[in-house]
Symmetry: none
Subunit: 214 residues, 4 copies
DNA sequence: GATGAATGAGCATTCATTCAT
DNA sequence: CATGAATGAATGCTCATTCAT
């Protein structure tokens, strides 16, 4: 333990104060999210976040003990949000392939969910900050969950005769995970970016049927 | 302008001086590559590079006007190396699917080619440093080439009856590009990382035949 | 001006309110004393004091306009406490040398009197915070008193034939004052710290008889 | 080991570069010494030191890895300087009491030696920064030396019949060490501060003969 | 050309103090 | 009166970049 908080106030959960605090924290998180998305971890400065929120720098430190902690909070939020999306999809009474497609859609964009995006980008961003995150909470457990949700869908699909049960689930999973990163290539190649849905459809089509001729 | 060194004095191309300069530049690039791979852009310091090369910090600035320029040089190198790998594969007298699998292998690892790795990691690392790079040279042109090589293979495949010619090449291409990022999930989920080849096989299998039952 | 609280409203001296205020102030002083003794001025934080007392940080500022003022109040308290100890000793019907020895004991330790300790430590701590203190109240007057008490004892001793009256009282005083600082050397050199009394005895012996052979 | 120096340059001991470096370091030390003496550790800022020296802040960090290190260097310097003074005095062919008096003079002032002063003030300044110092080098060993030099003189004195050999040397030493701190009382009490020599004479007189009447 | 000491803008973090509730 | 969230000036430290030698 390193923190030197002396005043550990535990306010009533529903009180006005507490609600205001929550709002403040939310505002900071949203702003930081935007800055992080724009500039990345190293170029996101506490000064800028504070300025954009319209508060003093010190105020951020009232809610997050350090830049790293703020970042981890952001990442965790993204991860949980992403996971929650998947959980909901996984439980829906739809054919396995439709569920998978919905997951692709979520991963590819769904602009409403910048949170997921943050998660995805950090996530796929190589070794960037991984160490930092690990120090604070175990991602493994959450990734296990993620993998479990997807594996479950895949197995549902096999059971329902939708998917070829001669292919090991793990292989299917691996390929699917590889597809989750939205390719950055597009921005570079092309004029018009595909919508999350269109992209998911194209990718999904291949995922399900492959490209081979008969 | 494409050259990144800014020596005003252009020595005779084959002279001793010039050869030594080239070696020096090469040494810097290789070292920086290693550091970049280990620590990422922001934690790669000019001091460390200089120390590892065994030259003075100022000397780096004789060859690269800034850290960003050095980075861009590195990235470009990686991109060209990757592209060259693809060009070679594309030209080989192999079935299209084998050629595609070789490309996957190259993207997924091929530890001998740290250069490609650098390229891939930066590349898939979200917005990281993209701006910077764009300022210096147009990636678009190179990506166009990359896409062209792959599209060519896909069309070869269609012509040879290997691939389903009712699927637009662009769709195939999009899905293939989405697969090029090696998923980071592995490290998190699992015990044993797959070799580049194994991973390419699994992913390739799905890419070619899909996961659907008949 | 000597009072350090700046409440504009002066309540009836014996009222309940006033008594509670006094208690509050006393509690703050005691706590601050402890923190100051433990951590020193710069590492004593208003947050910690408030937390230890169990009040809000702002409340401290109701009674002390600034950290410096709080410190000065503490110092003054220590000084007065030390002075009071000396006053009591000075008035006792004991041989001069016994009274001096008691003063040494008080200066060297007397663990019960943390207040005196605070005073002594700040006091002997070089220039530390002197300016600050001077801005707020004149120590000179109190030191004059301190010197007067001791000089009086020394002169009592001369009159009683205990001390050599060919030595100017001022010289005796100077040497005595020099001895009042407990040497920190001990902690560094040695195993077992002497008790305040043992140290006073040894130092006193030399003070009274010197170290010369006959 | 924590340092991240990459370029560990080992220059020729007598080279011009090296001499310049020494001068620079010396200048920083002297300036820092002055600031430390004026303001104490916590209010000595790296900015101020740099400004006074007329260099950039970063330059200080070229020579001292942190503020703490700078401080420790300063303290060590003071300690060694003080010790060296004592060593020289201890070896002189003078009566023991004259040697002790010289040591008092040195401790009390000798304005030329601000270094010793720094040492003395930190030293007597309570717990201030002790921890910090200990982390970096063992003071104990040096204090042992200091105590040894003085003990040696005391025993010389006993052997020569100057001092009463019925008093344990340790007692003599303890009292002497207690006298080493120049009393701060003076500044407060009096108009005219005594010169280091006058003070040493007065204190010495009492130390040698005590204040008792016959 | 090399060198590496010097630079200084930039950044995370702390904490005494204020003031709206 | 009491509170404690908010403030923001201050500070230690880093590191890409420059330039005199």
């Amino acid at each position: 333990m390193d923190t030197k908080t002396y005043s550990e106030h535990i306010p009533a959960p529903g009180s006005l104060k507490e609600r205001q605090r929550q709002e403040r924290v939310e505002l900071i998180l949203q702003t930081a999210e935007a800055v992080l998305a724009e500039k990345g971890y190293y170029e996101m400065s506490m000064d800028e976040i504070a300025a954009r929120v319209g508060i003093a720098k010190g105020t951020i430190y009232l809610h997050f003990p350090s830049k790293e902690d703020l970042f981890v909070a952001l990442f965790k939020r993204g991860l949980l949000s992403f996971l929650e999306g998947i959980r909901q999809v996984a439980g829906q009474p739809l054919p396995a392939r439709d569920r998978l497609k919905l997951i692709l859609v979520q991963a590819y964009g769904d602009q409403r969910k910048k949170q997921s995006q943050i998660f995805m980008s950090v996530f796929s961003g190589g070794n960037l900050r991984r160490e930092t995150i690990e120090k604070q909470f175990s991602m493994r457990e959450y990734f296990k969950k993620l993998a479990d949700y997807i594996s479950k869908i895949l197995e549902d699909g096999k059971a329902a005769g939708e998917f070829d049960d001669s292919i090991p689930t793990l292989v299917m999973l691996t390929a699917f995970l590889a597809l989750l990163n939205r390719p950055h290539y597009e921005e570079l190649l092309g004029e018009n970016l595909l919508s999350a849905e269109d992209l998911a459809n194209q990718v999904g089509r291949v995922y399900f049927h492959g490209i081979s001729g008969k």
